[in-house]
Symmetry: C2
Subunit: 455 residues, 2 copies
């Protein structure tokens, strides 16, 4: 870790120690011991600031709670890790984590009817309305990860043995959500371009009907899949689903929070998004949005009555299990939300940068992109079997030579050791970083005598 990054963490931690003294003292009373502890803390931070300013000093704190390293990947590297890019926090979310870290911090002003999405201070209730309108749906709830959204929908719609249509490129969490509900996934085969088409979906629905004597109960398709980040024609697929009166779940784990998503325009009955994947939010977080038609079913309130006490908890929603996402995870999501709402308007620029990088990678002879090209997303699957892997074959570090070369130049997040098929994500990198990233890959190619066709 460079010393400035190290010292920035040390200063943050030293301030948390001062804060702890404030927490331990009696209210509004600072005794002599507290006073001297605060003054010591301040003087410690001052010294650290000297080091940040001058770029001097040696690391004083290496671990959190004795066995957890300080994580500095985002400060030290350009991170192209496929799933981390759009989950990186905004500074506002980081401040929210600082202020709202305590477990039930969201619950200070919880009043009747005692449900998370009704709390107005902090402004959780209006956030839920904004979330729904952000994806142009009627109602939304926050959830601990997109998978918990699939689960809530599957648990509501799927009876034992029911079929659910998913993509041949479906994420494993869709498999699990269906399995947990007692259903069976039926995959739509992908075509030669690695795309799920409306026609193939219709054929699959017919085939399932023929095979099982029953229509599938849900069609659940990823707008951009996790494998190639290819764009699938969700709007036409939703139309097909509706022709059979089957509800459509739009999996927006790779879209909600990075590009504009209009659930109504798509014809989605359910929109699921991931906070930690695409909404610059702490994990586990996400959103489940639906229409006013489906809201009473998915967000149905409990009907259970205690047989002895006659207790009812009528306001609590069964699939949400009551309150869903408390504390700093939610407040972090809320703190990033203004930035997230704005950034989706710059998606085309992000795609432009993605293509700029991919074009430059393709200029390295033998390199291929396995995702659809031109890219429509910042996540891409590439194949360097005939470029970097040739070097790896005769290199003593094997595939790790590329990781070594990249990390020594400040790039991280490719799958360490992989030089054949691997994925990367350029989301959120500035043009300056994109150019640096590309130059680095091309320079590594030069160094290892792979021809680069510079334009």
């Amino acid at each position: 870790m460079d010393i400035r990054t190290q010292k920035t963490f040390e200063a943050l931690f030293a301030l948390e120690d001062i804060r702890e003294t404030l927490r331990q003292r009696l209210p509004n009373v600072t005794g002599p011991e507290d006073e001297s502890s605060i003054l010591e803390g301040v003087s410690k931070v001052r010294k650290i600031l000297d080091d940040i300013e001058a770029g001097t000093g040696t690391p004083q704190v290496r671990k959190i709670a004795s066995n957890i390293d300080i994580r500095s990947r985002e400060e030290m590297y350009i991170n192209i890790q496929p799933i981390q890019a759009a989950g990186r926090l905004t500074p506002e979310a980081r401040k929210a984590l600082i202020a709202y870290g305590d477990g039930y911090s969201t619950c200070d002003a919880c009043r009747k009817p005692f449900r998370l999405d009704k709390i107005t201070s902090p402004p959780i209730a209006p956030f839920h309305e904004q979330l729904a309108s952000f994806v142009n749906m009627d109602a939304a709830r926050v959830i601990p990860g997109a998978r918990r959204g699939f689960q809530a929908v599957a648990s509501t719609l799927v009876e034992k043995g029911d079929s659910v249509i998913v993509s041949g490129l479906a994420h494993y969490t869709e498999f699990l959500a269906v399995e947990e509900a007692g259903g069976v996934v039926k995959e739509v085969p992908i075509n030669e371009h690695n795309l799920v088409t409306p026609d193939a979906t219709a054929e699959k629905i017919e085939a399932v009907k023929k095979e099982t004597g029953k229509l599938p109960v849900l069609v659940m398709i990823d707008h951009f899949d996790y494998q190639y980040a290819n764009e699938h024609d969700v709007k036409s697929i939703a139309k097909v689903a509706h022709q059979y009166d089957i509800p459509f779940l739009y999996n927006g784990a790779y879209t909600v929070g990075v590009m504009p998503v209009d659930g109504k325009e798509i014809g989605a009955d359910f929109v699921v998004g991931s906070g930690h994947k695409s909404m610059a939010s702490p994990a586990p977080s996400g959103v489940l949005a639906t229409t006013s038609e489906w809201a009473p079913k998915i967000f149905r309130t409990t009907q259970m009555v205690g047989d002895v006490t006659k207790r009812k908890f009528g306001i609590k929603e069964v699939e949400m299990l009551g309150c869903t996402l408390m504390g700093s995870t939610l407040i972090g999501m809320m703190a990033s939300f203004p930035t997230v709402k704005e950034r989706v308007n710059h998606w085309e620029e992000e795609v432009k940068k993605s293509n700029y990088f991919i074009d430059g990678l393709l200029a390295i002879e033998g390199s291929k992109v396995l995702s659809e090209y031109k890219r429509k997303h910042t996540l891409s699957k590439v194949d360097t079997t005939n470029s970097f892997d040739i070097v790896a074959k005769s290199h003593k570090r094997k595939g790790f030579f590329l990781s070594d070369e990249l990390s020594s130049r400040g790039i991280i997040g490719e799958f360490a050791g992989a030089t054949r098929v691997w994925k990367l994500n350029t989301y959120g990198l500035s043009w300056e970083k994109i150019r640096y990233l590309l130059d680095t890959f091309q320079n590594i190619a030069d160094k290892h005598e792979i021809k680069v066709n510079r334009g």
Copy 2:
């Protein structure tokens, strides 16, 4: 907010802004603009430190992301809120939130077999082993809240129409988990001491068998209930359940993380704990632990096979939906764990403080404790209908007079406006704070001419 607390937050936030500059720059290159931005940042923090030292200055930052207030309840007040006390973060957890806030921060070194609980860096895999042994069970998983543990167990064991035995004081999330799984809760009536007894449990099991022709499939009892925090004889109740061959779920939301819990000794088949309620952890977090007998069922891996692609995700656990608790929520939990492991050994001292306070409250004439007395927990339900509520009746602020009196003296977390039956939690308060708390209540009584029987 007092100015020192305010300025401590401002310093933390200003350091996050410096950190953001480090994140935005090219790796290891600090251009002239970055340089001047860092130096400006440092000089800003220095001025804030002057204010912290001298206790001077005026607030410069009032909101996060324009509409979220800075939360300073733990710095400014003694917080007796019933569910927040044992979820307050340790300084280590707060540092973990700072370093690991980014969404998928836990996943940097995720390698085969690609499951959260197998990651060794940060040390997530050993943490899982320690968690299991902490509650003396064979296997454990982290989960996004205790309710997700009830859900996983209910979803595994409960078929449509099955009965599940719960306490007449069961938490609503147990109701919901059973309802979501298609089951029906059957309450054990509580006795005149507000306790669930083994005999009453046996009777209820017999009654359910008679009524439905089938034994209940699960007995799920809170060791300390959320209403009174009375201790229920879980060990004997587990024995009863086992006499009928029914598995027993120990709800440790109010115990795991504050007092020693020995799942095997209790005879629990499942132990569920709450991170944000009792383990000084960010929300939503928790633990589900089980025996080696039950682990293969509750943590069963997916059997689903893609019908077209033949894809299998064999390592992923169905009820966990794969990975459960990523990012800073988990790392915060891990960072607090050494403290949590240690603090359970001081439970008796916590109970002593609880009783000290309750005794002092009872000395205020007309006050009653509705929870079992002597207290065995730090959460208590009290009744001040014949003390503070008498004042409230003729006070222009009604019940809020008490909140006003308390908050002006630095105490917060009682249910604002409530002067009849309300709950409080003294967990984690130092003796100094406990004495201050008690003196404050008695002084308020004095002021309003309620007699106090001082010893």
